[in-house]
Amino acid sequence: MDLKSVTTASLQAPAKGNGTHAPVVAKVVANAVNVYYGEKHALKEVSVEIPPRSVMSFIGPSGCGKSTFLRCINRMNDTIPICRVTGRITIDGLDIYDPSLDVVQLRARVGMVFQKPNPFPKSIFENVAYGPRIHGSAQSKANLEEIVVSSLKKAGLFDEVKDRLNDTGTGLSGGQQQRLCIARAIAVGPEIILMDEPCSALDPIATARIEELIDELRKSFTIIIVTHSMQQAARVSQRTAFFHLGNLVEVGETQTIFTNPKDKRTQDYITGRFG
């Protein structure tokens, strides 16, 4: 089984009944999610539906809870001892906070790209190969190489690094490192990719490349992106959610949110009156 079949298999399985004529079934459904950091109530009663194979962006001022919510979707908040999550989040109808669910398998299905590029201090090849290796998704060495190459190609990095796959990943430029991180996430064959301000540490040219890449990846993955840049949200996402002080204020088509927001707070934010 090569990478292509891995990804297509995992992508098509949940797409049952998701034909062109049927109503779109949400990939991720959050229902009354509350997050507490100790005493602090960081996220309040958030309910949202995220459709498959599209880009959803979360915007809002600093500390509004958008990153917190993003990290609930692959349960990265579990690593914070004082963090407590209530409510229900399902992916394809499956409750991800179900005690019987293996969080490692969940994270293989829900990849994540972080704010600061964080490649492992290993070779470029090893960076991408690590995921397939720990999940045992490569049958042979040749197969593993194939997965690495196709992941790098999908992340638009292969042509730049094909001659130096054994060089260390930390020696790349910031933008290349971030694309390496995306390739690393893709190599595991996820259905959803979470991106936590992936361009905030990059220059405009690298940002543009990442944005192009996101647009490309949308065809195969469900992407959820947290961003501080409203232009970026407008450029890359189909749907946008606006968070404010732990509340999900408004969610809808990006077009609508930016041109005709219903809520006053959304309007104030996108017109730059606060935030």
Binding site: N74, M76, T79, P81, V104, Q105, L106, R107, A108, G111, M112, V113, F114, K116, N118, P119, F120, P121, K122, Y130, G131, I134, H135, T168, T170, C181, R184, A185, A187, V188
Partner: protein, 614 residues
């Protein structure tokens, strides 16, 4: 300056005198800080250089050894009376006798009487025959032939030749000299005042002796005065008691008086004796010309003439009287360049080697038989009661075994404990308690671990006493807290983004820690391990408790055999009175330091290999 807007507050006028002074003060303070730092480093470096130089200087004699190169007849009836062909039986033969025979042949006259034979024997080490025995055991056909062999000299002879135990200088004669005979008591006459400098030297020593005796006499007289005061007080007490009719008190006072009277009498005799001796020395120093009798408290003067050696018993400006120690070949007149004076500043009474032994040694050296070579023996044997035979191999091997046991135990346990505590353990009262106790353990005096080892490993578990196994276990306990603390610090310093990256692509916590966090923490972990091991390497106190302070001659063959370690060996040697062991102590310190540097070097290499940049 006038165009500065008024609303700007706190503007600094950089041209004002105050601002300039401020800048100057800042530069000054920075320069001073730099100077203090440099001074501190220079001071530390100076101490290091002095320390190392002192040790190296003291250790140098231990790295060479003196031996005699001699042709020795190996007679079959001496070494192999039964005519056996078994090398082990041959090895038990009397090789000492063979080498003595070889040596006596060089001094036929001296070999005549028992006393001089003893002197010659005294120069050889107990291990002098080892080389010959090895040669003959390896090749039994040598029996019946004459074999060239290295005879190890005794510690005292060795130190004399190195100039450690006695100050000596050899001066060539400056005028013709004639001995009155070839053996027994002789007088050597010269044409000029050849011995004036030696006479002067002896007189100056006498003057010093007179001063020293005078001081001793003064101290003794001060004591006498003190005792006499007490005596007067006691007598007054008797009188008072008798007047009061208290017979008991008078009795005790009387006994005190009797005791004091004897003390005073003996002290007075001592003072008299000391003053008398001081006066004699002073008089002899003051008298010019004439001749002086030598005794063992004065420097020795040997004269090497006509193939023999004469020890002066009396020195005059132009002649000496003395005993022949090595027979002269003739009583002919020797030309100025053909004879020499050997002056040994250290008096015979203050050194272990006698004038007679020195005479024989000087003769052997003159014949070119004494050879100084690198002391391989020091690195190839265990401890010995004889300084010249003592080596560090047994303690070095003991150290290696002990360190191996320590490393094998504490590296995996320490690192895994650190990983668990830092990455997996829940934060609660119990783990807090564990953490506090680990920090406390790091500060526990090392001897306490030795007591624990004695009680638990030896008494309860019955492990062998003085074995590297128990030593290693005890040192592992000692080092564990250090390794855990430093490993935790290293793990903590790995950026959390690496953990997130691994978890984000679906690595389990264990995979994230062992695949990414631990490798990145490895340089720090290794640094901590080396600090701990270096600490363990120099540790003596806990090993004393578990019996590793033993006198170990054999090189240990495993971790359960009795052994000692380098620091304990240094401790043992430093305690011994023989001068030869002082050099061995310094040399063993150098070996310990070399061991430490090798270990640290290895750690740096490993660290470089593990280090990754990001």
């Amino acid at each position: 300056m006038t165009d500065i807007p008024l609303d700007r507050i706190g503007v600094i006028d950089t041209t004002s005198a105050a601002a300039k002074a401020h800048v100057r003060a800042r530069y000054g303070s920075e320069a001073r800080f730099k100077a203090y730092g440099l001074a501190a480093i220079a001071f530390a470096a100076l101490f290091l250089v002095v320390l190392i130089a002192d040790i190296v200087f003291k250790a140098v004699p231990a790295f060479t050894i003196s031996s005699l190169q001699l042709e020795v007849p190996v007679a079959g009836n001496v070494v192999n009376p039964n005519g056996s062909s078994d090398p082990i039986v041959i090895g038990r033969g009397d090789f000492i006798k063979s080498i003595r025979e070889g040596l006596y042949a060089l001094f036929p006259e001296a070999a005549q009487d028992r006393k001089s034979r003893k002197v010659i024997q005294g120069l050889l080490s107990n291990g002098a025959a080892d080389d010959l025995r090895r040669q003959v055991m390896a090749k039994p056909s040598l029996i019946g032939t004459t074999v060239a062999t290295d005879l190890l000299l005794s510690d005292d002879a060795d130190l004399y030749l190195k100039g450690v135990s006695a100050q000596r200088h050899v001066v060539a004669g400056t005028a013709n000299a004639t001995a009155s005979g070839a053996t027994g008591k002789v007088t050597i006459f010269t044409d000029a005042n050849v011995f004036a400098t030696e006479l002067q030297l002896i007189k100056s020593v006498m003057s010093r002796n007179a001063d020293e005796l005078g001081r001793q006499a003064e101290r003794a007289s001060a004591n006498v005065a003190d005792y006499e005061r007490q005596l007067a007080a006691a007598r007054a007490a008797i009188a008072a008691a008798q007047a009061a009719g208290d017979t008991a008190a008078a009795g005790t006072a009387q006994s005190l008086v009797t005791k004091l009277e004897t003390d005073v009498a003996s002290l007075k005799a001592q003072v008299f004796d000391l003053t008398g001796r001081a006066k004699t020395f002073a008089d002899r120093f003051a008298a010019t010309g004439g001749s002086e009798n030598l005794d063992p408290t004065l420097p020795s003067l040997l004269v090497s003439i006509n193939g023999g050696i004469v020890r002066a018993t009396s020195v005059g400006n132009d002649r000496i009287e003395g005993d022949v120690l090595v027979a002269l070949t003739s009583a002919a007149t020797a030309k100025a360049a053909d004879w020499s004076k050997i002056v040994i500043d250290t008096p015979e009474a203050s050194r272990k080697i006698t004038d007679a032994e020195i005479a024989i040694l000087e003769k052997l050296a003159e014949k070119g038989l004494v050879r100084s070579s690198f002391n391989w023996l020091f690195f190839s044997t265990g401890d010995s009661r004889e300084a010249e035979l003592a080596g560090i191999l047994s303690s070095l091997v003991g150290t290696i075994y002990t360190m191996l046991v320590t490393l094998v135990l504490c590296l995996p346990i320490g690192v895994l404990a650190a990983v668990y505590l830092e990455e997996f353990a829940p934060r609660n009262r119990f783990t807090d308690l564990v953490e506090v106790n680990i920090n406390n353990l790091a500060a526990v005096p090392s001897i306490v671990f030795g007591l624990l080892g004695l009680a638990v490993f030896i008494n309860a578990f019955g492990l062998p006493v003085s074995s590297p196994l128990v030593g290693g276990l005890v040192l592992a306990l000692l080092v564990l807290p250090t390794i855990i603390i430093t490993s935790r610090a290293a793990l903590k310093s790995v950026p959390p983004s690496i953990r997130e990256a691994a978890l984000g692509i679906g690595a389990s916590k264990q995979q994230a820690v062992f695949d990414h966090v631990l490798p990145l923490a490895m340089p720090g972990v290794l640094t901590g391990t080396i600090i701990g091991m270096a600490h363990a390497l120099g540790e003596t106190a806990p090993l004393l408790m578990i019996g590793m302070v033993a006198f170990i001659v054999d090189v240990p063959q495993g971790v359960t055999q009795p052994a000692t370690v380098l620091p304990v060996q240094i401790f043992l040697w430093s305690d011994l009175p023989e001068v030869g062991f002082q050099a061995k102590t310094a040399a063993a310190i150098l070996v310990l330091l070399a061991f430490l540097f090798t270990m640290n070097g290895l750690a740096i290499v490993l660290r470089r290999r593990f280090e990754r940049r990001w």
